[in-house]
Amino acid sequence: MNSIAKRPTEGDPRAVTETHSRTTDHLRLAPSVEPAWVEDFVLEQRLLGVPGDRIGDALALVQSHVAESGESVHEAFGDPVAYAREAASTRRVDDDRDLSWILGSGLGLAGMLLTLFGVQAWIDGDGRLALTVGHLVALGLVVVAFALLHLASEPFLRFVLRRPWSTLGLFVLHFAAMVAAFVFLRTPVAHVPAGATVAVGVTTLALGTLLEWRSRTAGQLEDPILGPGEGRPARRRLDWFGGLTLLMFPVLTVAMVGFSLLVARLS
């Protein structure tokens, strides 16, 4: 499935700039290097936000040096994480955060919650959503989690990778806190029409999905690891998995609304 990078032929300098049909497998850039070393190096550089073309260049350098010197990668470059940091520190990493994706997913989440609150109020019958302290606390918890994920993504991802079980525990606790807020903090702070809530929710959801789609189709989320002289690969059509992740919030909303209606009918 992965094509091997074409080796440049002697006497043809242009050969080194040839592009490759698939550039998704970074191990191809360092075939003589221990895969575990490459993976640790790439992971650390990714966490540091080093752009894909610079990671690819660094991997090609490692490959070139190891192949020529006959040294092992550990001998020549030492610990992959330490070297990844050393190699990254030579140039400041541009922090070109993708705002349309962040905004899109934020709006998607907010739209989903508003739609669900509105539908639940409509099912409950009086046509008005009693906005409770629990709603606000749950929204606050979502905003905090969302901010942590996007604004402190590097330390957050390091924590997830180092302590997967603690992360799972925190996730469960976070979810339990949200449910507890809904269940126990029922004091109403305002009343809003359920129909208007659903309308705002659906609009927000659509806007969020549109922004995410725009971000995805503009290729802002893709930062392939490219070897020296490799061009960006031709944009692939969105596959079913990509489509599903793009439609995550609408699909979840429909599923949860369906579940709420089912529960209402059964009870």
Binding site: P8, G11, H65, R91
Partner: protein, 118 residues
């Protein structure tokens, strides 16, 4: 003295000016530079030390880079001094000479004293 045993902190200090000096002879690539450094008596300089230094030289605009095909093997990243890099090589060499003259006068005195006692 065994050249493999230069203290690493000494090498860290002098490596930049030595690499600039090697590049004054023309464009070269990582492994060839390590070979030249070894031939010059500096011992083995690891890739993990050399490439970040070359990256800093590139970032500072002292060198330009160019990937070229290897001889039947992987491509090689060549580093060539820019005009700014040539000036830097001259300047750093002059400063290094001053520095070693200063340290040399101290170490010569130390040698004279210690050999005088023996």
């Amino acid at each position: 003295m065994n050249t493999e045993q230069w203290p690493s902190e000494w090498l860290r200090g002098v490596l930049g000016v030595c690499v600039l000096r090697i590049l004054l002879d023309g464009p070269s690539y990582g492994y060839a530079i390590t070979q030249r450094l070894a031939e010059a008596g500096l011992g083995t300089v690891k890739g993990g030390t050399l490439y970040p230094l070359l990256g800093r030289l590139e970032e500072a605009g002292h060198v330009e880079v160019d990937w070229r095909p290897g001889e039947g093997g992987p491509g090689r990243k060549f580093y060539a001094l820019t005009e700014q890099g040539r000036a830097e090589a001259g300047e750093q060499s002059a400063r290094w000479v001053d520095f070693t003259t200063t340290t040399r006068s101290l170490t010569d005195e130390a040698l004279a004293q210690t050999t005088g006692r023996n």
